[in-house]
């Protein structure tokens, strides 16, 4: 059988970061092909190359044996490649029929759009999909599942030969997933090549015939699903050497500092209960979208909660009150430092001292001196590299920005430090420093709660690992129990059979 679409040795870098390095695999008509890998393995970059959004730095795409140069999304569309993104990309103000037909509306007299034909085309597609969405209604207000169905109708309307689905099921319920799969199967059986990206192995085994595994931007393997096992796939996804990056000191845990009970915020997470003791580092692991960040934001009081209690040193925190959480000694280092952690236009010293501007001020005035002293102390402790303390934070490298965020919160003398993806997007050396720092803070008696998608980091740093899946706490593993396999199995919902 000849391949319909061949991905041949493609590479793509963003700045100094190589997102995809020399990846090759083939897609066949009438076959669903799974693309799996950990977060950050480069799957989405592959999707964007197929969609014509990114151009490969190196390597080629071939359709039917001829090289395919995609200079934009329009080219990909013209070549018959339809991409369904995790976040549907519809025009909320336009009708569903128009969303489906955009750019290819049926034309009538004088090249005007034939609305009746456009609507009946959409209606026919929905009949084929077995759903009843009113083609005349605006896309605004459609549920995620319905939006995805509209996206699929779009793919059907162009008779797409290659359909790429980037985690289409992440936001869907069981019934909706079933409906989506029924459609996907019929597309596949009509001869289209499907590229299906998912973290859920039960979905992959239910739909796909072939699987390609990626790790750290590189191609690991491509096999027929029949020739491999879930165990094997998981091992290949995570299989890497644990580097000696994690200088975790052994600390005897003290009294309970943070106590979370029955924390619920529908529909994001339900009934989350755990404790963190002084001197302990607890990791909150799980796949992206499993609700980890939302849990910590709710604990800190940035996000609301529907039920449950949060106690710090026996004191109950009110919901939606970050100020009180800060006063109780909780510090949150957020995931997205650009948006949530730093004011890019302000100087380093201002950023470091921002949460304490009140305690540093004298007679209500902030004096430059006290700010500078405090900022200097913490940036030095964190070995931050910068020109002058008065430089804008935006001018620093990612790793150093992260240190400034850490300095900002550490300077408040927290009893509970919550860090969300503390080392995302920073280089190895800085990573080690951040880890060393977290470890020494724990040794000083701080209770550390760490959200991380990087398994080696989770395993290397954590005294205990809590694993979340689809909004629920599904496993609690001690340091000895936690292995790459056991965490990954819990996160993906597979029984550990290793």
């Amino acid at each position: 059988m000849a391949a319909l679409l061949r991905v041949r040795g493609v590479s793509k870098s963003f700045g100094a970061v190589a997102a995809v390095r020399d990846v090759s695999f083939d897609l066949y008509g009438g076959e669903a092909h799974a693309l799996v890998g950990e977060n950050g393995a480069g799957k989405s970059t592959i999707v964007k190359m197929l969609a014509g959004v990114h151009r490969p730095d190196d390597g080629t795409l071939e359709l039917d044996g001829t090289a395919l140069a995609l200079n934009g999304p329009a080219d990909a569309k013209a070549a018959g490649i339809a991409v369904i993104y995790q976040e549907p990309t519809l025009f909320p103000d336009l009708s569903v029929a128009e969303n489906i037909a955009m750019g290819r509306q049926p034309l009538g007299r004088f090249n005007t759009i034939d609305r009746a034909a456009m609507v009946s085309q959409a209606a026919r597609l929905f009949t084929r999909l077995g759903v009843s969405i009113d083609p005349n209604r605006p896309a605004r207000g459609l549920s995620i599942a319905d939006q995805q169905l509209v996206e699929i109708a779009k793919a059907l309307s162009v008779d797409a030969r290659v359909v790429v689905m980037d985690e289409p099921t992440a936001a869907l319920t069981g019934v909706e997933v079933e409906r989506l799969f029924a459609v996907a199967r019929s597309l596949r059986d009509d001869g289209a090549a499907l590229l299906f990206i998912s973290h859920r192995f039960e979905e992959i085994t239910a739909l796909c015939q072939r699987v390609t595994i990626m790790r750290d931007g590189k191609h690991v393997s491509t096999d027929l699903l029949a020739d491999t096992s879930v165990d094997e796939m998981v091992r290949r996804m995570v299989g890497r050497d644990l580097e000696a990056l994690f200088p975790k000191q052994d600390v005897e845990p003290g009294a309970t500092v943070l106590k979370v009970q029955g924390l619920t915020r529908d529909p994001v997470f339900q009934d989350i209960s755990f404790e963190v003791k002084a001197g302990e580092i607890v990791a909150l692991a799980g796949l992206v979208g499993s609700g980890r960040s939302e849990v910590v934001q709710s604990i800190f009081g940035v996000d609301p909660r529907d039920a449950g209690t949060v106690e710090v040193l026996g004191k109950t925190l009110k919901p939606k009150n970050p100020k009180q959480a800060m006063a109780a000694g909780v510090a949150l280092v957020p995931e997205d430092r650009r948006q949530q952690g730093l004011v890019m236009e302000l100087s380093i010293e201002r950023n470091v001292t921002l949460p304490r501007s009140r305690s540093l001020s004298q007679l209500g005035f902030l004096t430059g001196n006290s700010e500078r002293r405090s900022a200097k102390e913490w940036t030095e402790r964190l070995k931050t590299k910068y020109g002058r303390l008065s430089d804008e934070v935006g001018t620093l490298s990612g790793g150093n920005q992260q240190k400034v965020v850490l300095a900002k919160w550490l300077a408040t003398g927290p009893r509970v430090l919550i860090v969300d993806e503390p080392t995302r997007g920073i280089d190895v050396g800085t990573k080690a420093e951040v880890h060393r720092l977290m470890s020494s803070l724990a040794a000083e008696g701080v209770a550390v709660l760490m959200v991380s998608s990087e398994l080696p980091e989770v395993l290397g740093m954590a005294d205990r690992v809590l694993v979340m899946r689809e909004g629920r706490l599904v496993a609690e593993l001690s340091r000895t129990e936690a292995t790459e396999e056991s965490v990954m199995f819990a996160a993906t919902g597979q029984e550990a059979t290793v």
Binding site: K77, G130, D134
Partner: protein
Amino acid sequence: MTAVQLTAARRNSLSVVLRARELGIVIALGLLVVVTAISNPRFLSGQSVRDILLNTAILAVLAVGQAVVVITRNIDLSVGSVLGLSAFTVGTLLQNNPGLPVVLALLVGAAVGGVCGVLNGVLVRYGKVPALVVTLGTLYVVRGVTYFWAGGSQINADELPPGFLSFGNASLLGVPVLVLIAALALVVTAIVLRNYRVGRELYAMGSSPQAAQLAGIPVGRRTVGAFLVSGALAGVAGVLFAARFGTIDAAAGTGLELNVVAAVVVGGVAVFGGSGSVWGAALGALLLTTIGSALAVLEINQFWQQAIVGGLILLAIGADRLVAVRVAAGLKKRGSHVG
């Protein structure tokens, strides 16, 4: 009821809500005219109506162009200055070439405005600067160029060819030609926006810029195109201005951009792009102009006009929010059903 009937019924109620915006303006306009006419019947005299329509014509041409830009989630603040430059250019040209046909004058005006529009579009798209900032800049630049060129000089009616001035007052079948030109611009733009792919792509861009990019819409070209239309129409409006008033100096059209934006907003074009129509924008222009005339007839201090226009803008935005919330709530309930 069967599912099909149900869907149809819902669709009707929905389109009624959506139409309510333009209907609201028509009702407001009707009330205003009736109340004013009762208090002073002269308000409905031929000359009075004619004046209102003539004044509306220029504002409406600008509002149609502005609506095209606003639909793409941009704004063009330079239209008042572009009108001034176009008026002065065409005035000077006619001073020196009295034999110039009116059609050619209109084309020159459109070309001058078009060049300004392309400049705006290119700066917005390729300079990646928000339209608000770019067109605020070109507002001053274009005005500055006009002042530099004109100095303190002024073109008076007696320096313009009589043929051109009569074009400003001429009527065809009782309708002023300027109004016909505005109506032509309105109808053509409305048809393109509603019935052609290009038009729908402008709505798509305003509705979701990211999705437009992913859908393969040539966003850059369309953005420049939208500004080109707005600029060219502002240029045409400049020629109409010259023909109507006959007196042109470097300050012609100063501050007009705010009236234009007000007309567009009152007319129900969403400032966040993606929805609204040029019909609404033109109706907005008519309403604002009529308010101005009505206040004069009712002998209410003209200073109130600005307060009323401001109140109308807030009312329009408030109504939009209300409709949006209602519609959104209604739409949420109308999920799909597995058939």
